[in-house]
């Protein structure tokens, strides 16, 4: 007797719909078990995690604030991942984008400069991120160096570079020598959308990015090339597409979006550049991209859902005194289930009797 995985003749529509639901259900059950193991009431605990954040406007706003950078970076990454190009350095591109945009904010700080500053910062952020992403892309295209390594190493370097800037040349002269830039001028700050909350214009930009991503991937030649490169690389080359150009392009797009997210985050919720302002968005976004099945709308939902787990986790720490590590375990478990269930859309499991499986093994 053997369990085997086999490809379905075509993707199961039922599974496509049921998969996220089943995955969530399984995750909830696992979580309930873990809560019980820690001695907490499973039902109320799950409620604290998932329902409470959805029931008050402050938490809903915070959901959007937390999800905004995740969605933006995730969409950018999806371009790379669809084509099997492994950009692991989104965090570095995020940081460099923040640095690039902050340069303008710091330069013009306190000089009464006009509102053109803000869009200029955004452009700088995107360009900075894109350029930084081109480094691993070029290393791969020109030298054949694996982008996994180069993009990852560049994250560390970006961090140290930002650290140096904030402690040295960009340090706030009135900040008592602490490592932070001066607070950005209001004109260099992301406008708040909903007064009384922290929901800012970045959310609109993120939605725009979702739409743009959908259009680019679904309706342009470039999007087609990207998808083809991922699905059938040999066919792609045969059709005359230049894979190198695509590597550069996808890295540039993903770097630009990560950089944009970076400057928005710094000029928005944070308000100035400081070390450690990022809780690892660039890495979390990788998960968001996969959770969202590398599809723009899926990424939007996945970003919101993952943000929910973060906020729910904080609620749980407060309301039921559950350690933060449990949230990480839960996120891992959720991802396991979602990936597993999604796989069942494309594949199915069959139980083979021994004679059959032996026969098939000799095929």
């Amino acid at each position: 007797m053997q369990l085997v995985l086999e490809k379905r003749p075509e993707n199961s529509a039922l599974a496509a719909v049921a998969s996220p639901l089943v995955a969530i259900a399984l995750s909830l059950i696992t979580m309930a078990v873990m809560f019980a193991a820690l001695g907490k009431n499973p039902i109320t605990s799950l409620g604290v995690y998932f329902l409470d954040p959805l029931t008050d406007s402050y938490s809903l706003g915070e959901l959007v604030v937390k999800a905004t950078p995740l969605v933006m970076i995730g969409i950018g990454l999806s371009f790379c991942y669809i084509a099997n190009i492994w950009n692991i350095g989104a965090e570095g591109q995020f940081l460099i984008g923040a640095v690039a945009g902050s340069w303008l904010a710091v330069r013009t700080n306190g000089t009464g400069v006009g509102p053109w500053v803000f869009p200029a910062m955004l452009v700088l952020g995107a360009v900075g991120g894109a350029l930084y992403a081109l480094i691993p892309a070029l290393c791969r295209v020109r030298f054949g160096a694996s982008e996994i390594l180069t993009s990852l190493m560049l994250v560390y370097i970006a961090n140290f570079f930002m650290d140096y800037l904030v402690r040295g040349p960009w340090r706030d002269p009135h900040g008592l020598n602490f490592p932070t830039t001066a607070d950005f001028d209001p004109v260099a700050t992301v406008p708040i959308l909903i007064p009384g909350s922290r929901v800012h214009a970045g959310a609109l930009i993120a939605l725009l990015v979702v739409g743009l991503g959908a259009v680019l991937l679904g309706r342009t030649i470039m999007g087609f090339e990207v998808r083809l490169l991922g699905a059938a690389p040999k066919a792609a080359r045969f059709s005359g597409f230049d894979p190198d150009k695509l590597v550069l392009l996808t890295f540039a797009i993903s770097g630009a979006l990560a950089g944009l997210a970076g400057i928005i985050e710094v000029a928005g919720p944070v308000g100035h550049l400081q070390p450690d302002f990022s809780p690892g968005y660039g890495f979390t976004a990788i998960i968001v991209a996969f959770l969202g099945r590398l599809n723009p709308v899926g990424i939007l939902i996945a970003g919101l859902f993952l943000a929910l787990t973060f906020i729910g986790g904080e609620n749980a720490e407060i309301a039921i005194k559950v350690p933060l590590d449990l949230t990480k375990v839960f996120q891992g478990v959720l991802l396991f289930y979602v990936l597993a269930c999604d796989s069942l859309i494309i594949y199915r499991i069959r139980l083979l009797r021994t004679r059959q499986s032996r026969e098939l093994a000799h095929v």
Binding site: R171, N177, F178, P269, G271, D276, F277, E317
Partner: protein
């Protein structure tokens, strides 16, 4: 994965701009006082965050049924922190401690939305009607360590492991040097910046590097006991940081700088309960027991006596680690703004090395 220990205290300018009204809203009823804390790292770090947690536990022990405490750990200093503080406030925590410099602006922002709650920001310099600041004068302890180190060092070289250049760290180095120079004017210090708050392996490597280069007394401004263990392995001496690390170096630890937050937390909670809470800036040193020296060990009696004498003098106010004149690395004499010693503001924003330190402050 990273976190930092920063300290800042009152800014004279800000202090004059902020009205110090009575922030108490009348004594609370017999309801429990809910106290919340925001931690930068995990409570298992046996360092900065761990000591705050120890303080919280002391609070619970002292006030028992009168308080209910909650904490959030591993709160990143970016945008997440504002939400974390707000969540605590929304959950009914009336007294909230935010235990890292990077939470400064978020604390102020949230405090402005909850004018009837009380906020305490560690190592910051911005206050408001309902925001206090608190920190320790760790440089006082560093001075004593310098004195001991110079006495105990046979090679005349001290090893200093630090994470990131912030004024607290720099003033710590300077105070150590000044203390050491009072015993041995030719004392040398070797400084290694590990650029992380949170990698015991790196701290161990830094300790080894310093020991290799003949430093025989190690001090650290990082959190884990790694350096102490290396000191034990190499049979050299070391000072513990944040918590008493004697267990990790029974024959190596001379003393440790212990962050003693318990009494302060208890006092502030009582202030709220009694309706006497006011926005203050507390920069407590050895005298106020915010900073405590671990027992002096592994040193001959005369050194111990000297250490205790120095400690007593600092407590009494007769000895100030930064008494003027203070001369910088390049030979300039620092303008003395505090009378006979540097002013608090100068110490808080210290950005230079004193003469005798052969290093350059990174980023300067």
């Amino acid at each position: 994965m990273k976190y930092r220990t920063l300290i800042m205290a009152a800014v004279v300018a800000l202090a004059s701009a902020l009205p110090l009204g009575v922030a108490g809203v009348g004594a609370l009823a017999a309801d429990k006082l809910k106290v919340g804390l925001i931690y930068l790292g995990p409570i298992g770090d046996f360092g900065w965050t761990y000591q705050h947690e120890v303080g919280r536990q002391a609070l619970v022990k002292a006030l028992g049924d009168k308080v209910e405490t909650t904490y959030l750990e591993n709160v990143n200093e970016g945008p997440d922190s504002e939400r974390a503080i707000e969540q605590l406030a929304r959950a009914g925590n009336r007294l909230i401690f935010t235990t890292s410099f990077g939470y400064m602006d978020p604390t102020i922002k949230v405090a402005s939305r909850y004018p009837n709650d009380f906020f305490e920001h560690a190592t910051g310099f911005k206050r408001a009607k309902n925001v206090s600041t608190y920190a320790g004068r760790w440089y006082e302890a560093r001075y004593i360590q310098g004195v001991i180190a110079a006495k105990m060092s046979k090679t005349g070289i001290l090893g200093y492991i630090v994470s990131f250049p912030i004024p607290e760290v720099v003033s710590g180095i300077n105070a150590t040097m000044l203390g050491a120079q009072s015993v041995n004017p030719n004392i040398k210090v070797k400084i290694i910046w590990v650029n992380t708050w949170f990698d015991p392996g790196k701290e161990a490597d830094a300790a080894k590097a310093l020991a290799d280069q003949k430093a025989d007394v190690l001090m650290q401004h990082t959190d884990s006991p790694a350096a102490m263990q290396i000191a034990a392995q190499r049979n050299i001496l070391a000072f513990g940081q944040d918590s008493d690390m004697i267990k990790f170096g029974p024959k190596s630890q001379l003393t440790a700088i212990v962050d003693n937050w318990g009494p302060y937390y208890i006092k502030r909670a009582n202030d709220v309960l009694n309706g006497t809470w006011k926005s203050t800036d507390t920069w407590g040193g050895l005298g106020s027991d915010l900073v405590v020296m671990a027992p002096y060990t592994n040193m001959p009696d005369d050194v111990k006596a000297l250490a205790m004498k120095t400690e007593a003098a600092i407590k009494a106010g007769t000895l100030h680690p930064f008494k003027c004149p203070v001369v910088t690395q390049d030979g300039q004499t620092v303008e003395c703004k505090g009378g006979s010693h540097l002013s608090d503001e100068q110490i808080l924003s210290m950005n230079f090395y004193v003469k005798g330190v052969d290093d350059k402050i990174p980023g300067k």
